[in-house]
């Protein structure tokens, strides 16, 4: 069976655990990183199949991380899903213009949104 590696960039341990459980429940292998700069370094060195990216991060926000990943030759092909509680029109457009493939809410249906998007992006069958 092929292993699909997903990088989860989330600084909240509680939320990281919940999202990780969702991703692992559909057979994905998850690496959790709590800092944007570390995530960029790791993604360049070992590109994952998908990046799930929180907006709120300590050293640089998720929008900046997304822009840098989408500009770097080594990482620009990697689908990025931004997962956030900032769901206003302005924030959504900022995320999508930064290059995110999807921008989905951290609500009670976050797991369903995430799995639907993974199917649509072809990460899951």
């Amino acid at each position: 069976m092929t292993t699909i590696n997903v990088m989860l960039v989330e600084d909240s341990q509680t939320q990281a655990r919940q999202i990780r459980e969702t991703l692992e429940s559909v057979g994905l292998t998850v690496q959790v990183i709590g800092d944007g700069a570390d995530a960029i370094r790791e993604a360049v060195a070992n590109p994952p199949a998908l990046i799930v990216l929180d907006v709120h991060l300590p050293s640089m926000d998720g929008y900046q991380v997304c822009r840098r990943l989408k500009r770097a030759e080594e990482t620009k092909h990697i689908p990025i899903i931004m997962l956030t509680d900032r769901m206003g029109a302005k924030e959504t457009m900022t995320g999508l213009r930064a290059g995110a493939d999807d921008y989905i809410p951290k609500d009670i249906f976050a797991a369903e949104h995430l799995v639907n998007t993974l199917r649509e992006l072809g990460v899951l069958e």
């Binding site: 302005k90 959504t92 900022t94 290059g99 999807d102 989905i104 249906f109 949104h113 649509e120």
Partner: protein, 142 residues
């Protein structure tokens, strides 16, 4: 982006979602993504449409007035788009201009056209037009 001067023809897909509660907001979001996908929108544009439809569905839930959101393809000449619409009886007593300003403030620039049609009941309508940039991944320099 907006288009005028030609007949607006409804084309497939034609989908609808009844919105009553928070679960339906999620279903509406997913249905919007499906409709946008069938018309050839890029993944980012599908996300944009899904977010706008979620705003509309949230508005319905907040108004405590169950309604059906309609999604359909739209064509003017060679131009194709996705139209999202629903009736909004809770706006019956409101000034249509004020209602439009409120809707635009929520939708922002996620959709090309945002309209509130007065009537009994009033109707809200959103359109996003398909363009070359919206059929592929675009990364801005913002």
């Amino acid at each position: 982006m907006s288009f005028s001067g030609g007949a607006r023809i409804v084309i497939p897909p034609v989908l609808s979602v009844q919105v009553v509660d928070a679960m339906d907001v999620m279903i509406a979001r997913n249905t919007a993504r499906q409709a946008a996908s069938l018309l050839g929108f890029s993944s980012a544009s599908r996300a944009q449409i899904a977010a706008a439809v979620a705003v509309l569905a949230d508005t319905i839930v907040s108004a405590d007035s169950p309604q059906t959101i309609h999604l359909n393809g739209l064509r003017i000449g060679a131009q194709t788009g996705l139209q999202v619409s629903c009736v909004a009886p809770w706006l019956a007593g409101a000034n249509p201009d004020d209602a439009l300003i409120a809707l635009r403030s929520k939708i922002g620039d996620m959709m090309d056209e945002v309209a509130v049609e007065s009537g009994t009941p009033p109707k809200m309508s959103l359109i996003l037009w398909l363009s070359a940039a919206r059929t592929t991944q675009e990364v801005s320099a913002v």
